[in-house]
């Protein structure tokens, strides 16, 4: 058993971390968020590297890597709170790639892989990230079925959501083509969202540690006080717990698909709760400055809030877990 990345996967992670540190610094994120616009240069750079197509099959123009590699990139883009349509595009690609018909794959995957078009995915009754600029939208209906809709056939109303680092919309559409397998499509999308949430948590933890080591009150770094240091320990516990669940789900998506439904629900429940708690703690541990627009922790808190709602809250996924467990243990009653 090896519950760690391969050397190649570690290399992808290091490369992504370094690249985003220079191309998507927090001041770049601020500029994009305050202008309500994406960082076009960043997106072009990601496209040149082939990131949108990392998990798309080679026959459709992608790199043909797996859910683990995609999770690594999603985590790093979450860590950077990058202002880009990356997540929405790869969610649509994962859904179509894993659950789409041959026609749907042929129609949309090459464009998504090359970055020529962007995609979007979300709940039919929720906020759909990046739907306005997308060429293709995957809508998940309340019964769990998912439909593929061309942008031209959708009624898209942009919404100014609490997370200004990302564009959102409400999408109205009656038609569209159903996916062949909506369940696996949504579960694979859940893994990528969870990975972004783990990255958000990791960044909030690191920013908080740097702050509480430096900030002094009563002549002592505030991180020495247990009220603060124990909060930081809890942040680590939440982050690492969500990471364990998310990496397991990313591995199961390709290597053990029978376990994906449970693993995806587990990852989304753990990473949503984790990121909301960790980013809230980050604001608290920063004190008054953490509550200002000027500090950067709020980008993380806001990203966590909207991601946590994307494709179902932790409560929805906990109930799903309970139903799966009950089916296993007491099939008659479930």
């Amino acid at each position: 058993m090896n519950f760690d990345f391969t050397e190649d996967q570690h290399e992808i992670k290091r490369t992504a971390r370094d690249l985003l540190a220079s191309r998507s610094s927090l001041s770049a994120v601020r500029t994009a968020a305050e202008a309500h616009q994406y960082d076009d240069g960043l997106w072009k750079g990601l496209v040149e590297l082939g990131w949108p197509g990392i998990a798309i099959a080679e026959e459709h123009g992608g790199q043909g890597l797996g859910a683990v590699e995609l999770a690594i990139l999603a985590e790093e883009l979450g860590y950077a709170v990058a202002a880009s349509p990356f997540l929405a595009t790869v969610l649509a690609a994962e859904a179509i790639g894993a659950g789409g018909t041959d026609e749907q794959k042929a129609a949309w995957l090459p464009g998504l892989a090359s970055g020529e078009i962007t995609g979007a995915l979300g709940n039919a009754d929720g906020l759909v990230p990046d739907a306005d600029a997308a060429a293709v939208i995957v809508l998940v209906d309340p019964d769990g079925g998912a439909r593929v809709i061309a942008r031209a056939d959708a009624d898209v109303t942009p919404v100014d959501a609490v997370d200004p680092t990302r564009r959102f919309a409400r999408v109205g559409a009656d038609g569209g083509e159903p996916l062949a397998d909506s369940a696996v499509a949504v579960d694979r999308a859940l893994v990528a969202v969870s990975a972004e949430l783990v990255g958000v948590s990791q960044r909030a933890l690191e920013m908080t540690l740097a702050y509480v080591k430096d900030r002094k009150q009563f002549d002592t770094p505030v991180g020495a006080y247990q009220a603060v240091s124990h909060r930081c320990a809890q942040m680590l516990k939440d982050t690492e717990g969500a990471r364990s669940a998310t990496y397991f789900a990313a591995w199961a998506a390709d290597a053990d698909p029978e376990r994906l439904p449970e693993a995806a629900a587990l990852a989304k429940a753990a990473s949503s709760d984790g990121a909301r708690d960790v980013t809230a703690s980050a604001i608290q541990a920063h004190g008054g400055i953490g509550f200002t627009w000027e500090a950067d922790v709020h980008w993380l808190y806001k990203r966590a809030q909207v991601d946590a709602a994307l494709l179902g809250t932790s409560g929805k996924h906990r109930r799903r877990l309970a139903a799966l467990l009950a089916t296993r243990l007491a099939p008659a009653a479930a």
Binding site: M1, N2, F3, D4, F5, T6, Q9, V68, L209, V212, K213, T220, P221, G223, A224, Y225, Q226, S229, H230, C232, A233, Q234, L236, K237, E240, G241, A242, S244, A245, Y247, F248, A250, W251, A252, A255, D256, L266, A269, A270, G315, H317, R318, R319, R320, L321, A322, A323, L325, A326, L329, A330, A332, A333, A334
Partner: protein, 381 residues
């Protein structure tokens, strides 16, 4: 990333399942002494087939199992609902500490009877005034000729009434800084200077004891790891305290949760959204514990030193076990609050989980200082 077990690990698991299947000691008998004798007999059966301490090197009667194989052993022990061996402290704590610091004579003398449960061990570390601040301990040992004379008091000493030997840490240099004046002894419990008094816990059971030591004598050859080196030797014991067992406890937690879900199903409670939410929550926490423990194994096997996971799993387990027991009381109503009911027992016993083997507060300090690199508050050690 590959979360499947290797062929040899899978074969070891199969071998263990078959062995536990054909070796069933039956239910534990009533009565404290009877139940202890039962666990002692169980350990002898394990030792006969070299399963008592699979992580020990084969030269000492183990199987030289890897850390993953050792985890598999404890998982399967728990899954088969077999008891822990009677001399669990000897196997997990005393043995590995003696292997690290013992002289060839000490290894030869002490290790074999640990494995066969002929000599049971207890741990004499904590004192009434030295709990989390262990290095503040006051029990003193004074050299007289080629013997040490020991006076003091120890507390929370599990299994002392059955023990032949005690891992004793005592102060031998009163002028040295508090971490430096300590020495680790192997103390014979069968002598007039050692009195054992049972300490009854909130369950009504005496799992542990107080130890009153008045002029007990320890020959100089029973110093482990050198005079004045006791803190370092004790830390080795404490590091072993949180290994292996985590997998046994993780499996026990999973079994308790599954049984509670089955009870809830029998009572038609699973459709209640509040119940479903809580079951989903506990299932999530039990899985996170299991997965994080596995990640910890990979970190140790790949990089040689424990990562942050190791510090988190005991905290996760103890917290979740308490939440599970509390939820059982909500779910099952008055009978879960009735003495003799297993959930009532869990409700009481689980309170100790966040204290024994390092309080949650101390674990948070360890995480904050050693994993996160936060500064230490002045005065706190």
């Amino acid at each position: 990333m590959d979360l499947t077990f290797s062929d040899s690990e899978a074969a070891f698991r199969d071998e263990l399942r078959a062995w536990f299947e054909s070796n069933d000691p039956g239910p534990s008998p009533e009565g404290e002494d009877e139940s202890y004798a039962y666990r002692r007999d169980w350990q002898k059966r394990l030792a006969d087939d070299r399963y008592a301490a699979v992580h020990w090197p084969s030269e000492y009667g183990g199987r030289g199992a890897s850390i993953t194989e050792s985890a598999i052993f404890f998982e399967e022990l728990g899954r088969a609902r077999r008891p822990l061996p009677a001399n669990v402290l000897g196997i997990l704590l005393a043995g590995p500490t003696i292997m690290t610091f013992g002289t060839p004579e000490q290894k030869e003398r002490y290790l074999p009877p640990i494995l066969t449960a002929e000599e049971i061990w207890c741990q004499g570390f904590s004192e009434p005034d030295a709990g989390s601040d262990l290095a503040a301990l006051k029990t003193k040992a004074v050299k007289e000729g080629d013997e040490w004379v020991v006076t003091g008091q120890k507390v929370w000493t599990s299994g002392a009434q059955y023990s032949k030997w005690c891992m004793l840490v005592a102060r031998t240099d009163f002028d040295a800084p508090k971490h430096k004046g300590l020495t680790y002894f192997l103390m014979d419990m069968e002598q007039p200077g050692v009195q054992v008094r049972p300490l009854v816990q909130i369950t009504g059971e005496p799992e542990f004891n107080e130890l009153f030591i008045e002029g007990a004598r320890i020959p100089d050859e029973n110093v482990l790891g050198g005079v004045g080196n006791g803190w370092k030797v004790a830390l080795t014991t404490l590091m072993n305290e949180r290994s292996g067992l985590a997998f046994f406890l993780q499996v026990r937690l999973r079994q308790l949760l599954d049984e509670l879900v089955e009870e809830a199903a029998e009572r038609d409670l699973l459709d209640d959204p509040v119940v479903a939410d809580k079951i989903g929550y506990l299932h999530m926490k039990a899985e996170i514990l299991r997965l994080t423990a596995y990640r910890g194994l990979t970190t140790i096997e790949k990089y040689g030193t424990p990562g942050p996971e190791g510090s988190l799993t005991k905290w996760m387990w103890s917290e979740t076990n308490q939440e599970l027991a509390q939820f059982a009381a909500d779910l099952l109503g008055p009978e879960a609050l009735t003495n003799g009911n297993r959930w009532a027992y869990e409700l009481l016993r689980s309170r100790g989980n966040t204290i024994e083997g390092g309080t949650t507060e101390i674990l948070k300090n360890i995480v904050a200082e050693r994993v996160l690199g936060l500064p230490r508050l002045k005065g706190a050690a």
